[in-house]
Each structure stands twice: as structure tokens, then as C-alpha cells.
């Protein structure tokens, strides 16, 4: 038996809370202790106020589709046999725009402004990544 192929490099201290959260089914984002602003991906300094007092906090996981398209070429082992992959930018309730994929919906039914909620996709090697599905649909 060969080891299952990893999707991602090993997390490090800067981003481990995000990936631990994903494995546990929680979307974690950085929030500023000083101004309450959220940001993603990893920052060392608040994009809103410049503070370095950033903490990982649980996000709502709710958002709307800002933009979407369909990946028709394999660029990664995860795409194998999975095309088209629905690519999307999702505007989260926390004010963050996330690059992600949509699942549980056919490409023809995706539209700008669609309300979505976070879900998590697990690799055979035990990693988890955040994806989004139409709000109210079961995982």
C-alpha cells in the first residue's frame, strides 16, 4: 500500500489553528483584539488598524457568492476525476472574501449572490479544507 497523497504542505505555527479548526469542523479566522476586524489568510498585523494583537476566532461560516467559475483542468491531485470543480470567491458575514470551492450544487445552479455556508472536505491523509455549499443543504 502506498501512502495517500497529501493535499497540502504540513501546517506550521502561523496557520495550524486554521487547519486544526477545519479538521474539527470549525472555520477559524484571525480577528483583531483592538478593532474587532476579521481577516484571511494569515496576517501578522491587522489590515484595518495595524494592531498586532490578532487571535484565531470561530467564524459564522455563512456568506454569499461574490464570483464563480468552473475549473476544467487538473492542477492538483484533488481535481482528479472531479472536474469541473466549482471555484468561487465567497464574501463571509465577517467581511472577509475567501477563495474556495462550492460543493453540493450543479454548476448551472450557481449564481452570484447565492447564500452559502461552510462545510469541510477531508483528504485520505487526514487533512481538511473549507468548502461551501448552498445554505440549508445537508453535507
Amino acid at each position: 500500500m502506498t501512502e495517500p497523497t497529501r493535499w497540502l504542505p504540513e501546517p506550521d505555527d502561523s496557520n495550524r489553528p486554521f487547519f486544526d479548526g477545519a479538521r474539527a469542523g470549525v472555520l477559524k479566522l484571525q480577528r483583531c483584539d483592538d478593532c474587532g476586524g476579521w481577516m484571511f489568510p494569515v496576517r501578522r498585523r491587522c489590515q484595518h488598524c495595524g494592531s498586532t494583537a490578532l487571535q484565531w476566532a470561530n467564524a459564522s461560516g455563512r456568506g454569499t457568492v461574490y464570483a464563480h467559475g468552473q475549473l476544467q483542468r487538473e492542477y492538483h491531485v484533488r481535481h482528479r476525476g472531479a472536474l469541473p470543480v466549482i471555484m468561487a470567491q465567497v464574501d463571509l458575514a465577517e467581511g472577509v472574501r475567501m477563495n474556495t470551492n462550492l460543493v453540493g450544487v450543479s454548476p448551472a445552479d450557481v449564481h452570484v449572490g447565492m447564500v452559502v455556508s461552510v462545510d469541510f472536505e477531508h483528504s485520505e491523509s487526514g487533512e481538511a479544507i473549507a468548502v461551501f455549499r448552498p445554505a440549508g443543504t445537508p453535507s
Binding site: 494569515v42 461574490y66 467559475g69 468552473q70 476544467q72 469541473p84 467581511g95 472577509v96
Partner: protein, 398 residues
């Protein structure tokens, strides 16, 4: 000389309107030229000097911009044996860089910092035995967080532009055929350009048959990948008139830059900074949009042309699809655009592609593709519609 139509009678001439001119243009071979970027840059500079009829000893300024391979920088002046210079720097604004270099060079010569400034770009993404499509996909070293980009399929800029195009379709009803009209029109121009890489005819069926990359983009919605170098020499109008080539005057210019910074709530894939830079550049030139006789628009993707023309105000936001669908940009159309074939069909030298054709047209050297050149509007675009430069060029002094 052009009247300042639509800008108010007797509008004050902007001090930079026509304060500089382009006197030299050097273009190397383009495409699968397996030489390194620095050598291509050096050749482009020598070609530009020869084109201008300017001895190397007169060149006293050098602005350098490297492409995706980052293969040319300050040491270029050593390679060129330029031992004394009055202006020298490396610049980076991605696809807006070339237009920016012309702007900084214009300001420098107009203010006496230097007499002849060469702006040079070169890139060598194509390697022997490597697929073209892999050249820009990027083999960046990633950590777990940046490793999410390939996991989700976000490889390079292409998917983001595709998402922008699809958002435009969702919001305004823009169609695949309308994207295709841009590619087809430019291919017709390319057929008249001996330097163009892709000159074989293209029709709508051929466009639709082209493989998908990220829907709504076919391969034919995407620019070429090219090795090559381009150099442009900027000087004062008086000096330009003493040289070999017809002067092409820098009449107006502007920049505008914006980014969503990863935060929600902006519409940066649809509303581009061209909306700010375009009107400012035209105002500097003392002309209105209606005076524009041709456009050279940065066309990394078909959608970029539509979004930029909308933001320049040639039609309302959202009407760019129908605007281009009737062949308006193509040979015989009312708004000749990317008359050399553009980045889609001629060659991809970032912002130097539109500038190269603008200089050829501005000199009246376009041959069978020559169009009315009184006011040439030129765009540069970098990032994902983030970084924008606009030039207004003309064979007419201010």
C-alpha cells in the same frame, strides 16, 4: 493640433501635455526565442537606439521592468556598457509597468533629469520542452495556507479573471459569443501584422471549439505566452524631432490602483481602476473620449478588453458585451482596437504589447493595418484588474 473639445473652451494646457515624445522602439523576435531575459532586454535596447538613430553614448537614462521570470534588473546597464547615467531604476507594477515607465520617463526628461531615457521590458517564461500553459502556472514554494490555492484551482491570475468574466455575465447578461468577438476581431488584425504569432483565421466555431481552462474562458480567451524584449526611448519633443523617426507625443497619462485586499464588499472584478485613470489621462491631453481614434488595450484576457472599454466610458458598465459584439473593434469597425492583434494574437510582452502597437500606429507605420492615429488611447493592467496605467499618444504635438 487637436482642439480641447468637450473639455471647456480654451482649457489650460496641462504642463505635461506633449512635454515628452517617444523617439525609439526596439522589438526582438517574439515567442519561442530561447534566450534569457537579460539578453533579450539588451538586444531590445540596441534595436531601439538604431531605430531612433541615436548613438549609445547619448543614452543617459534606463528604466527596467522584468516579467514573470524576473530575469532582468539593474545590472542590465553594465551589460550594455552604459557607464554613466542620470536616471536608473528597476520598476514593478506588473502589467501596468510599461505605461508607468513611459510616465516617469516623460516627467524626468521634461524636468531635465535626463535627455534620453530607455524603458525596457523582457521576459523568458518559455523553456525548451516545457508546456506553454505551465509557464505562468507557477511553481512557487508554498506553505499549508498558500498551498490552498492549487487545491482550490486558483493557479495564477487566469481563474480570477475568469471569475470576473462570469460575474459580468451573471450581472449583465454578457455572452460567450461576445467574449469570442474580442478574440476573433483581434485575430483579424493579427493577420495583417507580420510580427504576430497567431495569424491563421479564427471564427466563432473555432473559438467555441477551443478547450476550456476555467469556464467561461476557453484557451482562446487567454493571452499568448512569449519570450522577447521591447525597449522604448523617451525624450523631449525638440530632441525627438531631430531624430530619425516621426515623433509620437506623450499627450496625457495617469495611473490608478485598487485591490479588494481580501475583504468583502467591493466589486473589484467588474469595476476597474481604468475608470479613474482613463478620464484623467484624456483630461491631461486636453481631449475627450470622442476624440479617440484608436485604442490599444491591455488584453491579457478577452474580458479585460470589455471591462476596460466600459470603465474608459466608451459604453456604460455592463454594456461592453453588446458594444464589442458587432465587430466595432475589428478591422473596418468604428473603434479600431488592438490593431496588431494584441496579447491574444500577436505576442505577450505585458504592457509593452499595447505600447508597441501604439508607437507603430502613431508613426503611421502600420502598413495595411494603419488606422487614424490622431488620438491613441493605451492601457496597461496588472494583477487582477488591480494596477492600471493609461497613456494618450499622438503624432500631433500639444
Amino acid at each position: 493640433m487637436l482642439a480641447a473639445e468637450g473639455t471647456g473652451e480654451d482649457a489650460m494646457t496641462h504642463p505635461m501635455n506633449g512635454a515628452a515624445a517617444i523617439c525609439g522602439l526596439g522589438i526582438t523576435a517574439m515567442g519561442r526565442v530561447y534566450r534569457d531575459a537579460e539578453d533579450l532586454a539588451a538586444e531590445a535596447v540596441y534595436l531601439a537606439l538604431e531605430d531612433a538613430g541615436l548613438p549609445k553614448s547619448e543614452l543617459d537614462g534606463l528604466l527596467i521592468n522584468a516579467g514573470v521570470t524576473n530575469g532582468v534588473s539593474i545590472p542590465l546597464h553594465i551589460t550594455l556598457g552604459l557607464r554613466e547615467l542620470n536616471v536608473l531604476t528597476f520598476m514593478q507594477g506588473y502589467g501596468s509597468s510599461a505605461g508607468q515607465m513611459i510616465q516617469y520617463a516623460a516627467m524626468a526628461v521634461a524636468n531635465g533629469l535626463a535627455n534620453y531615457i530607455c524603458c525596457v521590458f523582457a521576459d523568458d517564461p518559455l523553456k525548451e520542452g516545457v508546456r506553454t500553459g505551465d509557464a505562468y502556472a507557477g511553481g512557487a514554494r508554498r506553505n499549508a495556507m498558500s498551498g490552498l490555492y492549487p487545491v482550490y484551482g486558483f493557479m495564477g491570475a487566469l481563474p480570477m479573471y475568469a471569475l470576473g468574466a462570469r460575474r459580468h455575465m451573471d450581472l449583465y447578461g454578457t455572452t460567450q459569443d461576445q467574449l469570442g468577438a474580442v478574440a476573433i476581431g483581434q485575430r483579424r488584425w493579427a493577420a495583417m501584422n507580420p510580427r504576430a504569432t497567431k495569424r491563421e483565421p479564427l471564427d466563432l466555431a473555432g473559438y467555441h471549439a477551443s478547450p476550456w481552462v476555467v469556464e467561461p474562458f476557453h484557451i482562446l480567451d487567454c493571452c499568448l505566452v512569449s519570450n522577447g524584449g521591447v525597449a522604448v526611448i523617451v525624450t523631449t519633443p525638440e530632441r525627438a524631432r531631430d531624430l530619425r523617426q516621426p515623433a509620437v507625443y506623450v499627450r496625457g497619462f495617469a495611473q490608478a490602483h485598487q485591490h479588494d485586499a481580501g475583504l468583502a464588499g467591493t466589486d473589484a472584478l467588474v469595476h476597474t481602476p481604468a475608470a479613474k485613470a482613463g478620464p484623467r489621462a484624456l483630461a491631461m491631453a486636453g481631449v475627450s473620449r470622442n476624440d479617440v481614434t484608436q485604442c490599444q488595450i491591455y488584453d491579457c484576457y478577452t474580458y479585460t478588453v470589455i471591462a476596460t472599454l466600459e470603465d474608459y466610458g466608451f459604453c456604460a458598465k455592463g454594456e461592453g458585451g453588446p458594444f464589442v459584439a458587432d465587430g466595432k473593434l475589428a478591422p473596418g469597425g468604428a473603434l479600431p482596437t488592438n490593431t496588431g492583434g494584441g496579447e491574444l494574437s500577436s505576442f505577450y510582452m505585458w504592457g509593452m504589447t499595447p505600447i508597441t502597437e501604439a508607437v507603430i500606429q502613431g508613426r503611421g507605420h502600420g502598413g495595411e493595418r494603419q488606422q487614424s492615429n490622431d488620438v491613441i488611447l493605451v492601457s496597461g493592467n496588472g494583477g487582477v484588474l488591480n494596477y492600471h496605467s493609461t497613456l494618450v499618444l499622438s503624432p500631433h504635438a500639444a
